[in-house]
């Protein structure tokens, strides 16, 4: 196995540091900054918004198969609250849809 070049190690190190700072940053900040109602509202809207902003363009790019998979997974998750089952069903639906020539 070849050793990664120094710049690649640097890239991974800097990405790791950035991720750790973000992980602890929110907790740290909440210990120091009182939140106004509006800022709190923004923060509450953010997690779901980030997920939607990641997923919607991907689904649009991949097409109906992705839409089917995502809907199936969401329905299973709503009914059963089981992450593993929901992901498995979603991915299985995609595989079946593709097998059917979608």
């Amino acid at each position: 196995m070849s050793r990664p070049e120094p710049l690649i190690l640097l890239a991974i190190a800097v990405m790791a540091i950035a991720t750790v700072l973000i992980r602890v940053g929110g907790y740290w900040l909440m210990g120091r900054v009182p939140l106004t109602a509006r800022v709190r509202r923004m923060l509450e809207a953010l997690p779901g918004s980030i997920v939607a902003a990641i997923v919607v363009p991907i689904v649009a790019k991949i097409g109906p198969t992705a839409l089917l998979a995502v809907i199936a997974a969401a329905v299973v998750m709503i009914l059963r609250r089981n992450e593993l089952l929901a992901v498995a069903v979603g991915v299985t639906v995609a595989v079946v849809a593709r097998g059917a020539g979608a």
Binding site: P4, I8, M15, T19, I22, V24, G26, E44, I54, A74
Partner: protein, 239 residues
Amino acid sequence: MIEGRSSSQPTWSAAGYAEGAWLAVPAMPVMAIFSAAFGVFAGQKGLSLIEAALMSTFMFAGASQFVAAEIWGRPMTAAAIATLVVVTATVNLRFFLIGASLRPWLGALPAWRVYPALALLTEPGWLMSIRYRAQGGSDAAIVLGGGFVLWLVWIAGTVSGYMLGTLVANPQRFGLDLIMPVFFVVMLVPLWRGARAAVPWVAAGMAALIAARFLPGSWYIIAGAFAGAIAGALQDEQA
């Protein structure tokens, strides 16, 4: 977002580590599949096994690892590193909020207890901890215990996926390209707080869809997230 108003003070015990590991069991297959998918993807994108394993060990942040592998610099340059860091921070900004949401529960604990647990925080570990807390649990050691075992699964899954991935000629046939979007939608379900609270999500999705046509790289994610946050703030004014 999170009801942190439980009356009990946070505790921290050795038994909490074990309980956290136990609570994390249902999330393990998801982490294993997702990390294996990352291993497969990293291999396809030309990363070496050790590069993929280092990313999983020190980043432990799936979506950003996928994106980083996608825009990986070849050869790696200072500009490519800058791009990778900005994109990683953008994609992982949600951890900022996840960590913030734990303040009411963990705030009374010493920093040296809390920060290691935060360093290993992911959505599954976070959701597991939130549920435990909502059910009246107070032992904060479960956050670290759960995070630690999920971290081990993540690293092992990455290596396994990378090594097996070379056998998978066409990952689309196995739906691997859809694991990430499906996983995140599944993670979105427990965040559901009614249609009104989901209006920002729609704004975010629409804005991201439009931004993806005009903005390079992953900037559509931050554009969509900001649109959602602004929509949330505007809702506040009406309330």
